[in-house]
Symmetry: none
Subunit: 109 residues, 4 copies
């Protein structure tokens, strides 16, 4: 949908070798970027507790990445309690009642 993974090709920069200390900082893995975006939509309320997320295949297509990359992103969201993955059914936004300690893991919440 959004295709916001703009930093994909930026890694090509084999720039000069002085003072890169302030350049490297916002290097983010693709799956982290995607996890952030999905988490943000959950927090924004675009994805509400109990909602079913799009399928992994559709997410992969919309984000322009492969299925395993989506799975890695969903895996972190699952591990931090934002979503619940149910085999054969789908991926659902966790209701707050069942995971009241989200902010212990992620300060953005």
């Amino acid at each position: 949908m959004d295709r916001l993974i703009g930093n994909k090709l930026e890694k090509q920069n084999n720039v000069v070798d002085f003072d890169l200390s302030d350049v490297v900082i916002n290097k983010k893995k693709v799956y982290e970027e995607i996890a952030d975006q999905i988490r943000e939509r959950i927090i924004n309320g675009q994805f509400k507790p109990g909602d079913k997320l799009p399928s992994e295949r559709l997410l992969a297509k919309n984000f322009g990445v492969s299925v395993p990359t989506i799975r890695q992103a969903l895996g972190t969201l699952s591990a931090t309690g934002y979503i619940k993955i149910i085999h054969g059914s789908g991926t659902f936004v966790t209701s707050y009642q069942t995971s009241p300690f989200l902010d212990l893991f992620d300060k953005k919440y």
Copy 2:
């Protein structure tokens, strides 16, 4: 700034480092030599636009150098627009239509 670029690349020299004074001039760095050879094949048409290059590992093996050296060669070809490197997929020869200004960057041609 230029010197620092030079420092970065010095690690390639696992050759003599005595009495460089009169040798250095027309000595070509290994990765430049390799970049030249690949570029030449693109210009010759041995590698055509859209073609997929051999993998970095295979190139490294065939040229008898390490993968990072190959990456440096491919990096310059990428920066000058001859090839397009796509993470997870491969390295592809750029079609001329999409990079009409090749020679603006690379003074050798």
Copy 3:
């Protein structure tokens, strides 16, 4: 034992279940029909030994059935030696040399 196999496969019937008595006889199950069609193409030579079959998803789409139905059809072809299913790679037509006893298992041919 035979009846139990039959029970397993009944889920395919999302068709009429009234007055089956005189229909059931020459009614072919969907997955058998599909297996027949694929087998026929193997025998005709449209699919040659070593060929890779279309993916389960694509077959499902083309035959207008679900993936599990296709899997059932492929399963019988695999059991009777016509094809070899390799996880993560694909489904391949068996070469006759390696399965010389095909018709011992499948009485239809």
Copy 4:
């Protein structure tokens, strides 16, 4: 080396549907099987504390599986403290001193 993953093609068995309660039991994922084998060698002393394991690529080749599958196996061994993975260096057997509580995680030890 040993190519002991014998159960690879066994999954093809779409056997009859009666009383599978005692059949399904020893279904094991490929990466778990491999993790078990490596762990066993560590316990046996074939791989000693401080030893460097073969590279992921070599393990993949020797076990006849893909690199990500090996990585999954090594990931569980790393999580349970048997090995330590060092980026750019290799994978090493953990010395007992640094992980004295191995058996809390795995009863086989």
